[in-house]
Each structure stands twice: as C-alpha cells, then as structure tokens.
C-alpha cells in the first residue's frame, strides 16, 4: 500500500541541529519505534513527516515529497497523534472524532452520512460508543487517549504517526492502546511510526527500533540488538539490566546506582 521513506532528513531550529541525516524506509504494515533520550529528535522526525516543520533532505510517501503535497492530501495519507493533543473540553466525543473526517469534507460542506458511518464504526471498535455524547473534558486520561486515536483512525490514512502515545496512561491502558494499534496494522496494513520512552513496550510491539541520540541514529534493528545495557548506558546514561525472556521479549529493568 504505502511506503514511507526518509532520506538524509535534516532539521534545524534557528541554526541548532535537531535531526542530522535520518534515513529509513518503511513498508506497509511495519511498525518503527523511535527511542532515545529527551531532545534526541524523535518528535522532530514525526513532525517533519506530518508536514508541520521545514526540513532539508527528503521525506516521501510513495515517492511523493511531503512539502509538495497539499495539507488535505497529507491528512488523507498521514494521521498524526501529537504528544499533548489540544482537546477542547466542551466538545463532545462524536464531534471530536468527526474532526478526523475533515480532509474528506469539501471546504464549505458539512459531514456526509458516510462520514458519520465511518466515525460510528470507529467509536464502536474503540469501545467509545457509550461516551459519544460526553464532553471531552469529562473523560479520564485513558478515554481521552482513545478518543485521540479514534480521531486519527477516522482519517483512514495508511500511515499513522504516534508521538508518545502511552505517556499519560496507566499500564493497563498502555497495553490496550498499543494492542489496538497493533491489531489495526495487522488487519489494515497501517504503517506506524511511534516515538516512545518505555523501552520494554517499544521492543514488545515494534518491528524495528531506532535509537536516536543528539539528532543522529546511533543504533537500529530489532529489540535484541538495540536494547543492550552498554548501549543504554552510553546514550541514556542509565544503569539498567536487560533481561531476555524465553519468548524473545526483551525487558529493560533500571537499577539503583547507590544501593546500600
């Protein structure tokens, strides 16, 4: 379906380099997870792919360069879930999720029956039906996150960009949200790029991990090859034990430095 390619992507803010020569290529149904310490450039990569910032180099979907496309085309092909979405408290969940249909609605038209049907299906699928009339401001953190993901899915875009999708969620809702994304990419061939801080979860769900440090990609590959205690110590400055489960799961366990 869709191929997302990064070639020598370089981003700088006011002369300060945030991302330096990022390369990658993702095929339909792949999940790439960007990891790395704060300020490593993970969000910048996602924002460049969403067409929100200027960059040099190339980001392209099916060979179409992002800046040459219209905002509408991008929104039909890329759904972006920001780290802290701005959710108007007094908007109902249905209204909020319907915003995801914006790229398909003509400038001055309003939502069609088809748009409502799409939203209804998504609300059902994300178990949000009973909240559809509730105001977004009255939802809990987990429900809000589901509403944001619902809005992104309503865009019916083949590429999904998630910036810290689980940062505000408890362990149960983290699993729920990620399982949902995983199911969708298996069923619909969604291409997913996410930035995450929880290394164990990142390794658990993504096909590939890319470790970024100061704007550069310093390690890439599957969880086993990227999540190693020496690597983590070098780039995160963390003292952590990496445990390999029998089923192949890689678990990162932080250690006390002064344990007396």
């Amino acid at each position: 379906m869709s191929t997302l390619g990064f070639c020598d992507l370089t981003i700088s803010y006011d002369g300060v380099c945030a991302v330096n020569g990022f390369n990658d290529i993702l095929h339909s149904g792949e999940w790439l997870c960007l990891i790395g310490p704060n300020g490593a450039g993970k969000s910048s990569v996602l924002r460049a792919a969403a067409g929100l910032i200027n960059y040099s180099g190339s980001v392209a979907i099916d060979q179409k360069e992002i800046p040459t496309t219209s905002a509408r085309w991008r929104a039909q092909n890329i759904a972006f879930v920001p780290q802290t979405p701005l959710m108007p408290d007094d908007m109902s969940v249905v209204e909020y999720v319907l915003l995801g249909r914006n790229p398909y609605i003509k400038h001055f038209a309003s939502e069609s029956t088809h748009d409502l049907e799409v939203v209804e299906k998504i609300l059902h699928r994300l178990d949000l039906e009973q909240f559809s009339n509730r105001m977004v401001g009255t939802l809990s953190g987990g429900e809000r996150q589901r509403a944001v993901i619902a809005r992104a899915l309503a865009q019916e875009a083949p590429v999904l960009l998630l910036d810290e999708p689980t940062a505000a969620l408890d362990i149960g809702h983290q699993q729920q949200a990620l399982e949902l994304v995983d199911k969708l990419r298996r069923e619909q061939g969604l291409t997913v790029v996410s930035a995450m801080h929880d290394l164990t979860l990142a390794g658990l769900y993504a096909d590939r991990l890319v470790l970024m440090h100061q704007g550069s990609c310093v390690a890439s590959g599957d969880a086993k090859s990227v999540l190693r205690s020496e690597t983590l110590a070098e780039f995160y400055g963390v003292s952590a034990r990496v445990h390999h489960e029998t089923d192949g799961t890689v678990v990162v366990i932080p250690q006390r430095v002064n344990s007396n």
Partner: protein, 354 residues
C-alpha cells in the same frame, strides 16, 4: 437510526433548533418593542395596529396621524434596523475573531478597526467641519470605513513581515502596535483642535440616534457579504479549536482560513463602525452568552450570535432613547451597563449547573 447519527443529530439538531427559534422570537420581539417605544410619536399600542393597517387587505383605524407615522417609519424604524444589523455584525465578527485567534477575550476591534475608524472620523471632524453639508455623500462613514481598513491592512503587513513561525501572536501584537499608533495620532490631532473633542467623543461612544434608511442601505451589502462568508466557515472554525498544528495535520489550510475569516469580519465590522461609532462589549458578551447557553461549537455560535447580537443591540437601544429623555444616553454606556450584570448572571447560572 444509528447511535452516532442519533447522537450528532440530538446535539446539533433538536437543541439547536430550539435555540434558533427562541432567539428569532427574541429578535422579533425586540424589533417590535423598539419601534413601539420612543420619546415622540404615537402611543405605543397604536403602532402595531397601524402596522397591521398597512398590510394589504387589512383596514384598521389605528388613529395614527401621518406625522406620527413618519416619526415611526423615518426615525425609529431605520434606527431599530441599523441597531439589529450592527449588533449582528459585531457579535458574529467577535465570535469569528475569537475562533481564529483561539482567545476568548478577543473582540472585533482587535486588529485596529476601532482605532483606524476613530482616526478617520477625527480627521473628517477636524478638516471638514464646516463644509460637509454641501457634499454629495457624507464623508464621515467613508473616512471611518477607510481608516479601519487601512489600519488592519497595516497590522497584517507588519504581522506577516515579522512572522517567521506560523503563530498568530505576532499578528495580535502588530494589532496592538497599530492601535496605539493610530490612537496617538488621533490624540495629537485632538489636542490641537479642542473644538471637535466633544463631537469625536460622542462618535467614539457610539451613536444610532442619527440613523437613516440611507445608513442601512450603505452598510447592508458589506454586512451581508461578511456574515455569509463567516457562516460558511463555521465548520472550519470548529477544526481550528484543536490548535494550529493539529488543524494543519487534519488537512486545513490554516493561513487561508484565518486570512479569509479576518478579512470578512474586518470588512463587516468596519462598515458597522462607520455608521454607528464604536459600540463596545457586544462583540465579546454576545458570543460568550451564546456559548454558555447553547454550547461552544461554532456551528451554533455563529448563527445564534447573529440573531442574539441583533436582539441585544435593539433592546439596549431602547433605554438609550428614554433613560435620560430628552437627551440620548450613548448606546455604548447602555450595552456595558446592562450587559455586564447579565453576563455575570449567566456565569453564575453555569456554575450552579455544573
């Protein structure tokens, strides 16, 4: 019917149509009362009778003389209609500005409309104070209209020249700068021409007392155009509520939407200001009252602001005529005097509800 469809229809449909009906009824009542009450003219209850009498195939002896009817039709009626148009325009422009700038405290004068119009009016008062009677068209509304548009044009020019990011803060700050500059020039001119201070002051406070059908004809095209364009943007203003970045990520050409909305709102506001002076408060209080009553979606806020804004200004104009009879109380004073407590009451109502 499916759940989501029912849900949207319930929210956007039933309740909204109730509000739409209620505010239309309020507007009609305000207009009727507005034409019935005034310091001169026939007794109030005779006016509706005469109105009926004027309908085809109806003949009622209302006892209204021709002179009295002239007072109603040539003095009161244009005033009421103008109040309705201006109130509607200021409210819908205020609501749109608040949407585009995502700031609830913004009013339609934000980008320099008021200061520009004030400067234009001041120039007319100082330069042309003796000879305007002989002019073919009254230069005052033209100068105010022109001044307002020039001021906003400069605001946009400065805002875009200095704006490297996509944020709209620069535009707002440019508006502040242009407003202060225009006010400074205005004050300077007034200092040197003390004799027109009173005229300018009364213009600034807002005036509907001299309204004619000519004024109505003058601004109606601009206001209608502006209202239609703004109403067409009501769904997009809802998309903007999630912030610039997300609105772009959802496929909105945010610069174009912002530019068109600001342009339309400014054009209409400048026209309204040109004939009515600076009537404050309406552009903030009416959209907020609508939000408190009917919800914050711009699909409801914009149409209801038009209706309730019109009703509010027509109603506020009634005390301004009779309160200090035979003198006029400036309409701006009345809108603030009655508007502020009403607004506080609404805020309190909402607090007890939630």
């Amino acid at each position: 019917m499916s759940l989501a469809k029912r849900a949207t229809r319930e929210r956007a449909g039933t309740r909204f149509s109730v509000w739409l009906l209620a505010s239309s009824a309020l507007l009609i009542t305000a207009v009727l009362v507005g034409t019935m009450i005034g310091p001169a003219g026939p007794q109030w209850w005779r006016v509706p009778l005469e109105l009926l009498n004027r309908l085809p195939l109806v003949s009622i002896d209302s006892g209204v003389s021709i002179e009295q009817w002239n007072i109603v039709w040539q003095i009161r009626a244009p005033r009421v209609v103008l109040a309705a148009i201006v109130g509607a325009m200021l409210s819908v422009a205020g609501a749109s500005y608040q949407g585009v700038f995502r700031n609830p405290l913004v009013d339609p004068y934000l980008l320099g409309v008021a200061a520009g119009a004030g400067l234009g009016a001041t120039l007319v008062f100082t330069l042309q104070r003796q000879s305007t009677e002989s002019w073919l068209i009254d230069p005052l509304p033209l100068a105010a209209f022109g001044g307002a548009l020039v001021a906003v044009f400069f605001t946009y020019l400065i805002g875009n020249a200095f704006n490297k990011s996509r944020s709209n803060t620069t535009l707002v700050l440019a508006g502040v700068a242009v407003t202060s500059l225009a006010t400074a020039i205005q004050t300077f001119i007034l200092q040197r021409n003390n004799d027109v201070v009173r005229q300018v002051y009364s213009w600034i406070l807002g005036r509907l007392s001299s309204a004619t059908w000519g004024d109505v004809r003058l601004i109606l095209p601009y206001v209608s155009l502006s209202c239609i364009v703004l109403l067409m943007h009501r769904r997009l203003l809802d998309v903007l509520r999630v912030g610039d970045d997300e609105a772009i990520a959802l496929g909105t050409n945010i610069r174009r939407v912002r530019f068109v909305v600001v342009l339309a709102a400014t054009l209409g506001t400048a026209a309204a200001v040109a004939v009515s002076g600076l009537i404050g408060f309406v552009g903030i209080i009416v959209p907020h009252a609508v939000r408190l009553l009917a919800g914050a979606s711009y699909r409801r806020v914009l149409p209801l602001s038009i209706l309730l804004g019109a009703a509010f200004l027509v109603a506020a104009d009634i005390p301004s005529r009779v309160l200090a009879d035979p003198a006029e109380t400036p309409i701006g004073v009345v809108t603030a005097f009655f508007g502020a407590p009403f607004f506080l009451m609404l805020l309190r109502m909402r607090k007890t509800q939630t």
